[in-house]
Subunit: 351 residues, 2 copies
């Protein structure tokens, strides 16, 4: 069973297959869908962030290979083009590689191009498997994370970690949703998450859709919220976790972690095991991407600083393990976050 996804659907009508994407660039103003019937359309959509978020890009990349195969395109060339749509998105090329391997295997290891039907079936089955695994990981993270949510919890979150970026309920947002469904969530506080406003634009949209009581705040207002005793738990996702437990996540996460510690509020990171990168020994080894000044100098396309203003605009920051109360993975809780406790994950998942 392919999970019901928010961000992406596979359609196979008589007139030819298609990938239908919820256009995230138009949220929250408009809920519109973009139908990709060929690979150039999909590559363009991925490049423009119509679909985004680490796990979801893996799913989209794999379905893209399936689309190319079903159309009878040159699948190897299509796979290369899709993976190049966002070259730094590790999950995208990983999803593409998995579906491509399934497609190749459909020729029975002969090294020949598989028959169109067989190849497409194999690639699509792999895409569905990726989505199922992601949804299952979300469900497991939600279950484990729920243990950390007290009754009547007021949870503060940062960036966007829900169904828009996952085939399931996501990471931090999956725990939030489970807490709401268990009657334990009093309020969700949503950092707007400048510069790209993923909190205000996307997490608020997800919370509203789920019926979760929520309020958005400017990132700088989190301190006063914590000082007022209005936060019981901070929950975020992670973009990459180093072997020493340092967490790279959307810029602003580190400041929240420092504030949470100052106020003795638990700061919990929710991320699948695949986020832990044992090849990166520590926080200092994580390369932070610096993004264009225009993201800060503009807000929703409107200039907010003098033309030509320079900006310091890191996409991520790094939170050291000692500020992280616990890490929630699909394999269970890691607490405290230490290199030794993380290595258990490495062994458990045999990657």
């Amino acid at each position: 069973m392919t999970p019901q996804m928010t961000a992406l659907r596979w359609l196979d009508p008589p007139d030819g297959p298609a990938i239908v994407l919820l256009d995230q660039t138009r949220l929250p103003v408009e809920e519109s869908y973009l139908t990709c019937t060929d690979i150039p359309q999909l590559v363009d959509a991925i490049g423009r962030l119509v679909v985004r978020g680490a796990p979801m890009l893996g799913v989209a990349g794999a379905f893209g290979v399936g689309l190319a195969a079903a159309r009878g395109d040159d699948v190897e060339a299509a796979a290369t083009a899709i993976a190049a749509a966002r070259p730094t998105a590790v999950n995208l090329s990983w999803g593409v590689r998995r579906a491509l391997a399934a497609w190749r295997a459909a020729a029975g290891g002969t090294g020949l191009v598989p028959a169109r039907n067989e190849g497409a079936k194999a690639a699509l089955a792999e895409a569905r498997a990726i989505a199922e695994q992601d949804a299952a990981a979300s469900a497991a993270m939600a279950l484990h994370g729920l243990e950390l949510v007290p009754p009547g919890a007021r949870i503060l979150t940062h960036c966007n970690t829900g169904g828009l970026v996952s085939a399931g309920a996501g990471t931090a947002f999956a725990v939030i949703l489970a807490a709401y469904q268990a009657g334990r969530l009093e309020r969700l506080w949503v950092d707007e998450t400048r510069p790209l406003l993923q909190g205000a634009r996307l997490t608020a949209w997800e919370a509203r859709r789920a019926g979760i009581p929520h309020s958005v705040l400017a990132d700088g207002a989190a301190g006063s919220l914590l000082a007022a005793g209005e936060v019981d738990l901070v929950l975020t996702g992670a973009d990459r976790i180093a072997a020493d437990g340092s967490v790279a996540n959307k810029v602003g996460t580190y400041g929240l972690a420092v504030l949470a510690r100052h106020h003795n509020v638990p700061f919990v990171v929710v991320a699948p095991v695949s986020t832990v990168d044992f090849a990166t020994p520590d926080g200092r080894s994580i390369t932070v991407e610096y993004r264009p000044a225009s993201e800060v100098a503009n807000l929703a396309g409107h200039p907010v600083a003098p033309a030509g203003t320079e900006a310091y605009n890191p996409a991520f920051d790094v939170t050291p393990a000692e500020l992280i109360t616990a890490l929630v993975t699909e394999e269970g809780l890691i607490h405290p976050v230490t290199p030794g406790n993380l290595r258990v994950l490495d062994a458990a998942t045999c990657r």
Copy 2:
């Protein structure tokens, strides 16, 4: 000598007097000026934040009384209308009251309405005196604050504290400008200061105008900047200081103070003695103004969150004295910030 002001000029051409305001609502996109030749125009401009900031509103209110007197208006009625343009702005009504008292006194204490020329002269002289005192206080704060700036300093600031809100160089920005002129400033880091973006819109404009090397950052990026060792000093202004040294300032200030402490970076507040409110015993007694959700959910009419989204939007936050390394006033440095050290100011200024 009336100081040369950025935000406001008094004009007295043959065809009648006028107050010319730099329209701060159009910054940074456009440097345009609004000429107010009567009181309704000025009241409207103050209400729309064409002119803003505590000390500058005192100056504008006093010049407004001078304008009414020079026009031969009902000065008492004009004074009431100006003060009501922003009822919670304490400095506005204070400036109006000072100029009105000077106008009344021009009738020689007879209780009569003063002669038009004499009344206008007296009110304008008082307005100029307010501006001079403010400029002198700025200069003194700059001098005292400079003692805290090391050579090659990289200073992080929040909100807008320069010549747009002062008849002089402002508060924190006056120290920054002095440091730049003394060759001690390597870089100014400017928090964009959501939701109203006073940093990106106004402080970046002031820095550019002064030739100061600067970069804007999303408020959430300050943590990573401090963690990278790129900040030697954090300088902010204050909206109100309680008798225990708690500082109410633009939302986001408290989070910066916690981060600065975490990284052992000095966190210094620059504010005139008039900001210290001895009638407010402590931080908890400071009433924080909560502003509309629309400020967070919109920018220039463009929605950045789903329609109807609730927001937590305090205008200010409160930083306890123990997180403040020093307070710079026109009377000198206060360090450490303790009730006893603050009381010395109270005695010194005989308010």
